[in-house]
Symmetry: C2
Subunit: 344 residues, 2 copies
Amino acid sequence: MELRNDPLLGRSVIVAPGRAARPHAFAPQSIADADPDCPFCPGSEHTTPGELLAFREVGSLPNSPGWRVRVVPNKYPAIARNDVVPNDEISGDTSICEPDCVQPAYGAHEVIIESQRHVEGLTGLSDDEAAEVFIAYQQRLQAAKADDRLRYATIFKNVGPSAGASLAHTHSQLMAMSSVPRSAQAELDRARDYFDRNGRCAFCDLIERERKAGVRIVEETDELLVLCPYVSRLPLEMCLLPRKHSAQFEQISAESLAHLAHVLRSALTRLEAVLGRVAYNYIIVTSPFDTLSTGHYHWRIEVLPRLTTMAGFEWGSGCYINPVPPEEAAAMLRRRQLAASFRR
Amino acid sequence: MELRNDPLLGRSVIVAPGRAARPHAFAPQSIADADPDCPFCPGSEHTTPGELLAFREVGSLPNSPGWRVRVVPNKYPAIARNDVVPNDEISGDTSICEPDCVQPAYGAHEVIIESQRHVEGLTGLSDDEAAEVFIAYQQRLQAAKADDRLRYATIFKNVGPSAGASLAHTHSQLMAMSSVPRSAQAELDRARDYFDRNGRCAFCDLIERERKAGVRIVEETDELLVLCPYVSRLPLEMCLLPRKHSAQFEQISAESLAHLAHVLRSALTRLEAVLGRVAYNYIIVTSPFDTLSTGHYHWRIEVLPRLTTMAGFEWGSGCYINPVPPEEAAAMLRRRQLAASFRR
C-alpha cells in the first residue's frame, strides 16, 4: 500500500490493491434501462423548457423534432439567473466569515441533449455526432462567458444512477456561477503559485514527466494525452489533457474539438471494453472566465468511473482509498481488457 | 438559491430548495437486510482476524462468544503496519512533488463490532450499550496514539450500502495513518490561522454564533451542541460539537463519553424519525496525535445522511448542491418529522 499526495490538486489517496479482493469492492454498477416516457426523445420537446441552442435539419422548427443536438435550461435548476438577496436573519452574525461567505447563487444550469436517439453515452454516438456535441459545449460556454456576472463554469456528464443521472438518454450539463467554488479556487491558487516559483505551467511539467514515465499513459495523439493520474481517487480514473499549453477550453479550434471528441470517445470505449456498461462522470475543467493571464493553468477532462462508494473515511478525511493502482488501470485500458486478478 | 462558502472548512454549497421537487432528488435509500452468514454475529468469531479488544462476560474466552463490544483488524485493510517502500520506477520522476508526495501507507484499519445483536446502527442499542461502544472508540484511539509512527486517526461508521457499508451488522471503523491527508491538513492550517489572527478557537466562536442565531440548532445540552451546519453539503447533515473547548476526543472523561453516546443516539433517532431507515455515515474528527498546542482546534462528530448522489458537478467543482436549507433541516429534526413540502 502507498499513500500518494498530489500537492497541485490537493488530493491524498491510499493505493490499496488488497482491497480489490473484498466482496463487492470492484463491482461495476449497472445503469438504468430506457425510460418509455423519456422527456429527451423527439416528440417530447414541449416537456422541457424552451431551447437555448439546437443544431437542426433545415426547415425544422424550434422546440419540435428535427434536431441533432438540443440545449435547454435544466427544468430543476440548482442555480438560476435570479437575484435572491441572502437572508441576514437566517445567516445570523456572519462576522466569522469572509465577505463572500454568502451570496445570491446567480448562474446558469443547462442540459445538452446529445442525440435524438435514446442511447446512454458518447460511445453510442458516431465521431461526427460527438464532435457536434463538443461544438455545443463550446458555444454554451462562450454564451455563459458573455454574461459579465458569470465567472466560473464547468460542463459535466453523469451516466447511470450511481453517477447521479436521473435520466438515461445521453445528455450533459453546464453549470455557470458568479464565483469560483472554494476548492476549485484553491487549485487555481496552487497552480499560480507553482507558475510563480518555476516559471512553467505545472500541468505542462506533469505531461512531460508522465510521457517520460510512460506507465500511466492510456492513449496519446499529436494533440492529446489520456492518462491515469498518479493520485487517482477512483479505480480506472482517467485524465485527458491537451499536450500543448492551453488554459481555456472555450477557445480551442473546431478541428481540435472534433479530435477531442474522437479521443474522449475512444477512452470511454476502452473503459467499457474493460468494465462493460458502467456508471461514470466526466467533467471539463477549464479556467475561470475572468482569468487575465493564463500561463499557469491548463484545461482538462476528468473521467470518473463510479465503481466504489464514498464512505465515512473519505468524507471525514478527504483521503480516498483506491484498490486499483493507476499503473495497472492504464495497462488494462491500453489492452482493453480486465486484468486476470480482477476477474471474478 | 444561495451560494454559501465556509472559509474554515473550505467548502462551497449551493442551497437550492427547488431541486427537492426533482424526481428522486430526496429519496431515502433503503439499507440491506440481514445477512444469514454474518461474520460479526456470535459464533462466527473465527471468521475475523483475532480480537484487539473486547468487553466480555466474566469467564468467556477471547475470540469466542460472550462479548458485548469486539474490536478486530479489518480483514480487507486499506492500510496496515507493513512497510512498503514506494516503487521509484513506477513513480517516475517526482521532481514536481514535495518530499512527502509518496510514502509507504503505514497505519491501522480496525473494525469495532458494536453488539452481539444483528442490529443496524446505534439506534438499535441502549444508552448503556452505546456508551460502551464509545469507550472502545476511545481506547482504540489511545492505542493508536501510543504508536509513535501514527499521527492521524479517525473513527467512522457506514450504515447502508449507499453509505459504503458492505455488512449490515452494526460496526464502526478506525483508520490511523502516519501522515495527515491533504484536505484535513488544510482545515487544520485554516483553524490555526484563525486562532493566530483572533486569539480564539474558530469552532468556539462558531458555537457562540450558532447559539445566538438559534435557527440551525437541533439539540443542546450542558455539554454538547447538535446543529445543521450553515454550509451543509448534504440534506439533514448534522454536526455535534462539545460546547467547551476540547481538541482531543481521546481525552474526554468517561462521564462525557456516556453523555456523548446518549446525545448522538438521540440525534440519529431524530434522523430516523424524519426519514425512516436511511443510509448514513458519521465521523469523529479530532486533532492529529502530535498536535502540541490545541487552542485552535475542536473535535466534532459529523453525521452525513446519504440521500443524494455525488454527480459530475460536485466531483469537478468541489461545490455541493443541497436541496434542503439547513434551517429547514434543523426544524424538521427538532420536530422529528418531515416537513409537508418534502412529503411525496
